[in-house]
Amino acid sequence: MPYLDHAATTPMLPEAVTAVTAAMGELGNPSSLHTAGRRARRRVEESREQLAAAVGARPSEVIFTGGGTEADNLALKGLFWARRTADPGRTRVITSAVEHHAVMDAVEWLETHEGAKVVWLPVDRFGRVSPADLRAAIEADPDSVALVSVMWANNEVGTVQPVAELAGIAHEYAIPLHSDAVQAVGAVPVDFAAAGLDALTLTGHKLGGPYGAGALLLRRDAAATPLLHGGGQERDVRSGTLDVPGIVGLSTAAALAVERQPQTYRRLDTLRRRLVEGVREQVCDVLVNGHASQRLPGIAHFSFPGCEGDSLLMLLDARGIECSTGSACSAGVAQPSHVLLAMGATPAQARGSLRFSLGHTSTAEDVDAVLGAIGPVVERARKAGLS
């Protein structure tokens, strides 16, 4: 079954499965003081060091969470509250118009419930944020900015943002910058310290680890108000008994994904080119969305004029090819993507879009399966038209 939806979730690495399985068989709460507790604690701390080393962070900067959404919420709300508490005038949040819902909705919640004032940075037609726009947004009133959050790489079209440059600008004004790097870790080089970030979100299941295990990298000097109160297990910023198997799986997978990143990039980039060129050959009016060079290696995002993305997905699914319309909401209804709309696409173009995302198990056969089906599928979907 050709699976081209690795940006939704990617198969767990066998090494991670082994590590998780072994950890599940071991007793011990990492907060306990006895032998079993110390053994579990050792697993957690070794994992913390392993993960920190893989992404250019210090072990004390790793806060394990229950996934990317929690890490994003902790970054956004936690930094906002801490900064506003220190200075009540800091109520502005600057973010991009193409963020994942985990950031976008958290920011909107702050706007609705906490009086945050949100500045949505526009993107160009390739999905890139302009550093000049960030500077202008800050300079409108530098003292009122609580934080900046711009994703490392977009989950729909794969465009990579100039996060290091953006962080540099934010730091000129002593403003912290968070980046959702859920799609980036393991796909492109990600170095927390080198990029100069204050906070970074990553998650296990996008890089070959388990679901429900993620982390927020948070600089030691960045204060965040907790979302979850309890035992204070993670630096007093995040409470909850540590999920030892999840943490072990996350770190094992992250270390391997980062180690293999250069080869993965080359391989996926080649496969993606084959996919994009093949689709272009068969569907002459197809639009390829995203940035030509500043992008993830595995995401190919297309708009098929006159087609409904739903129809395309269903027809491909019936042929055993699994992909995505980009963003699914809880009802399973694909809304016109806010990412494409922000990039200047029309609602009709946005609705006629498909995302194929390649990952570590992708093969040339997967790509060829798409190329074997896409011509007739687009033709049929076009007949069905836009509803």
Binding site: D310, L313, L315, A318, S330, V333, R380, A384, S387
Partner: protein
Amino acid sequence: MKVLAAMSGGVDSAVAAARAVDAGHEVTGVHLALAAQPATLRHGARGCCTLEDSHDARRAADVLGIPFYVWDLAERFRADVIDDFVAEYAAGRTPNPCLRCNEKIKFAAVLDRALALGFDAVVTGHHARLDGGTLRRSVDLAKDQSYVLAVLTPEQLAHSIFPLGDSTKERVRAEAAARGLAVADKPDSHDICFIADGDTRGFLARELGSAEGPIVDAVSGERLGTHHGAHGFTVGQRRGLNITVPAPGGQPRYVLSIRPADNTVVVGPGELLQADEIQAGPVLWTSGAAPGDAFDCLVQLRAHGMVGEAGITVEGSRVLARLRRPERGVAAGQALVMYDGDRVLGSATISDARASLSAAGTPLTTTLRDA
């Protein structure tokens, strides 16, 4: 055949899909998202458009082992059903949105898309039978939905499958339970799906405003009271008129007509509601052609009842129905559906109902189902 099963999340459409699978069809389930901003959870027995209903449909599809998708038809539904509903009320008529949904959404937008995508037919959980292209009432008269399907053309019916027409609702529920479908004891949906709180009058007031206007007596022309929006009334309505002037002889008064032009509600005694001559059109003949220029048949004048004998005269694309016995409260905007026994002959929208000079006697109203 490759068939598309429309799955609302209710018990009927789940069993219909299951029977289509048993019949050997290659079935794909589709839930139609009709609400622009669906509620998360269902309230009571209303509607079919919450996320919970979508979830129920998905779980039924899981149990049946069929692929399942959600199609977003909220925009089409808004334009073709809700806006039409509001416009009809604004024009003083009483529309049937379920009928419109079948006509414009389920057996038009959905069927067209299904056919274009390579499906052969659409399966729904409607209680009605299809016999070689003839639409018939369900064996369960209390649940029969042939009235709201009578708007379908022969071409639409040729691509429709109604697997439930031979079963009572009770049997459908028992079968759902036996098949392990969790929706087996889900309450039936009532009322209008897009009016979640069931308050049609409030909905219309929000859509159309609630301009005060007179309630006048049809006989004397006297102003009897004030209403807060003429569209909140239905022809034949007796309760909720808030008239302070008592009628002569203490006779109850009924809404006789609604005049949108001067925002007036006309009321009067029940006799004036009697009608035995009904104009309706355009007419849709289920078999593609009228049975004759003039013929006798049964007619049904609203979704839940009002069945009687009539003589039909075909006048081009319209029909004139002469009822054997007058009916009370026939509303413009409702469908007149013609039946030969339990077989649907055709359907037309009622434009006018009046009493002929010979009208007399008591109305006969056969109640097909509990209101």
